[in-house]
Amino acid sequence: MTKSRIFWGIVAPTAAIINSLFFVYIILKLRGVEPIEMFKLMVSYGFDPRNLVSEINQTVAYYMAGVAAAIGFKMLLFNIGIDGQYRMGAFFGAVVGAAVNLPPVLHVLLIILVAMLAGGAWAAIAGYLKVKRGVNEVISNIMLNFIAAAIIAFLLSPNLLGSLPEGSQNLQTKPIPSSGQMPTIKAFEGEIYSFLFIAVVVGIGYWIMLNKTVFGFNLRATGLSFRAARASGVNAPRMIFITTVLSGAIAGLVGIGTLLSDTHSYSMAFPSGYAFTGLALALLGRNHPVGIFFAAFLWSFLERSAPVLEFEGVPPEIVIVMQGTIVLSIVIAYEVVARINLRQQQRAVGSANSENQIPVAEQVKETK
């Protein structure tokens, strides 16, 4: 059975990508362009060294979102609040980072810690509401995303925590001094965020937590069978809350790579949409640390290479449609596979039952 799991584990995502490519192929054909040429263009543009660098940097951010989503998924929790949690983490990380002056490594660690705390605390709201009030975490997180954006927009005003540097239209937080900055790695004619290493650490930590610790065992068990986990002694409400906070803490790190190595302050220019991306990557990567990495790279690759299509008269947003169809195809594929497996299992159980003949005893019957 394990062999078939690996098989489906690779086939399903691959099939989804191919399906989506096919869909885009048709759309491009309708546009009157030659799809294969477009794909080739995208690939060569995407692998151009300068673009590779920004793709890798974006991958780092997407990877965090994916891992955050995956932690939730392992417990069947849908963390759509990643958008709000990431903003909270980036904002407060930037504000605290700019307000203190510590020796270099400590300064960076503090920023990372604050980001995780902020993200985790924001997620805790939804977690608390779910555990104590039974509030659907999807709805509450959607609301909280908007609220987070509003709070931060408010705090970014010049007389509060924001500032308007000369020559810039964007309100931003005060800049983080150099002790709170992370260096970049010069490669491929560009600069890669060294936060990449933190991402690797997070990935490894995620895998270790999940597979080696008792907490991870309990997390997975609760996701696999709530009742069995409960009967084995797992405290379900507490698990739900802690997992939500943990997911939020990782989500808080999504914007930190950019913050520490590039912008050094938070502004409204920080993009949104990480929630859906994170969820999509976790699905595509099957909640596996390596799978999520490849999915994150694919995503950044698609986004970075899309503009080249514009030169051929194809609006680059076609790539968004592609991403959406990949996600749909993947979940459909998973559903179909699950049904096939279920039917297989039912057949197996049926034949197994016939091994266990329960003899029917003879008895005395009365005439009526």
């Binding site: 009030r133 659907n136 909280l144 908007f146 609220i147 592609m322 979940v331």
Partner: protein, 416 residues
């Protein structure tokens, strides 16, 4: 052997029944108007009940209403439609484009048809294939947004728009209610305390009404009628409350859900059409601005009833309107709300219900303090008021809410 107590009457039902009689409700509304008029005089924020504000309220409310009704139709049948935002985008784009090509009426029709199709797609994904409702909704949001921008980039530039804005579309006819509107206008201009305020408010919603607005407003009683008077509505409600029970009585829950979710998409899409054709006369990227999600909020706020969705969308439309028009009105409104809260706390004290009395008292004090200390409430907070309000309702009023019992939960035919 102990006796089994029948489940007691639901908490808070006594307070609810107090407000049930029409006479008392009119009294309540009149009371609120009195307070608002007083507050206007005190604070000089005269815009709260002006015709401009009420007109703007209606304009802001309609898209929310349509998104809300869309959410209602889906949730009543058992599916939470996270894809409302995407379906609204479908409506804005198709209404603008087909409206540009063949006139606004065709635009509305196109929005309806494409909305129906997107709803049906969501239904197939969630009901037949059985994927997670939230994933399907989110995917639709993404695909719709991407498709709209892609298609805009292709179709708009050659004809006078650009990749983010469509070429302008003809507007639909609007009218003012004959006889009544001019009378209201003259009363308003006379500036008599209270009476003029009410007249002004009513004038704002009786002049320059679009036919579309009237049509959409009629969908509220129509939805009520469907839900509580029609065979389909009864079956739809049970699909959301207890699909297994419905199945045991021979009802095809899948088919009921297909229809309900398709209509949900159509309604959201028509809300988008309103944005493109009535509230403005173009499609603009980002036009929907999260209204699809606010639609979900109004469903909760309105306790899953069409009248509640209407009330919620009016409330949220109102706060949007005053924010845009005159920011000081917001603080004045908070003062009014504070006074209402204090009066409520007095009411509850007289009926000896200490807990609600204390809460309303605190709310009243906080409201007064805000009014004293802040000149204008920051824009961002007012924008996000619907979200906060919904979260508060979910947190504190959870027992009073009556969502469809099985909304959002997976269901497969034949499962027990």
């Amino acid at each position: 052997m102990s006796t089994n107590t029948n489940s007691a009457a639901k908490p808070g039902s006594k307070a609810k029944s107090f407000f049930k009689s029409p006479a008392r409700i009119t009294l309540l509304i009149a009371g609120i108007f009195l307070i608002i008029s007083l507050v206007e005089v005190i604070t000089g924020a005269t815009d709260i009940s002006s015709p401009g504000t009420s007109g703007a309220t209606l304009r802001f409310a309609i898209p929310l209403l349509m998104a809300g009704l869309g959410g209602l139709w889906a949730e009543r049948a058992g599916v939470i439609n996270i894809g409302l935002e995407g379906m609204m985008i479908v409506g804005t784009w198709t209404a603008a484009w087909f409206g540009y090509l063949h006139g606004p009426v065709v635009g509305i029709l196109a929005a309806a048809i494409f909305g129906l199709a997107s709803g049906f797609f969501h239904a197939i994904m969630t009901v037949k294939v059985g994927i997670d409702q939230a994933v399907s909704g989110l995917a639709i949001n993404l695909i719709a947004a991407g498709a709209a921008r892609y298609l805009s980039g292709i179709f708009f530039p050659p004809v006078g728009g650009d990749r983010t804005v469509s070429p302008p579309v003809e507007t639909l006819p609007s009218f003012s209610v004959p006889f009544i509107a001019p009378i209201l206008n003259s009363i308003d201009e006379k500036n008599i305390f209270l009476v003029s305020n009410i007249a002004g408010l009513l004038y704002g919603v009786t002049k320059d009404l679009s036919v579309v607005t009237v049509g959409f407003l009629l969908l509220v009683p129509f939805t009520s009628w469907i839900l509580w008077r029609s065979k389909f509505g009864l079956r739809m409600r049970f699909s959301g409350e207890n699909p297994m029970a419905a199945e045991s009585l021979g009802i095809n829950v899948y088919r009921t859900r297909y229809i309900a979710i398709s209509v949900s998409g159509m309604l959201a899409s028509l809300g988008g059409a309103y944005l493109a054709l009535v509230a403005s006369s173009v499609y603009r990227e980002g036009q929907t601005a999260g209204r699809g999600f606010i639609g979900l909020a109004t469903v909760i706020f309105g306790n899953w009833k069409p009248s509640g969705v209407f009330a919620g969308s009016i409330l949220f439309g109102f706060t949007d309107a005053i924010r845009v028009r005159q920011a000081e009105s917001v603080t004045a409104l908070i003062l009014a709300a504070g006074i209402v809260a204090l009066l409520l706390s007095i009411f509850y004290t007289t009926s000896r219900r200490w807990k609600p009395a204390a809460s309303y008292f605190t709310i009243g004090l906080v409201a007064l303090w805000i009014n004293r200390s802040v000149e204008t409430i920051p824009q961002e907070f007012v924008t996000v008021f619907p979200n906060v309000a919904t979260l508060l309702v979910l947190t504190f009023l959870a027992q009073r809410l009556t969502p469809p019992a099985m909304a959002g939960m997976p269901y497969r035919r034949g499962s027990e």
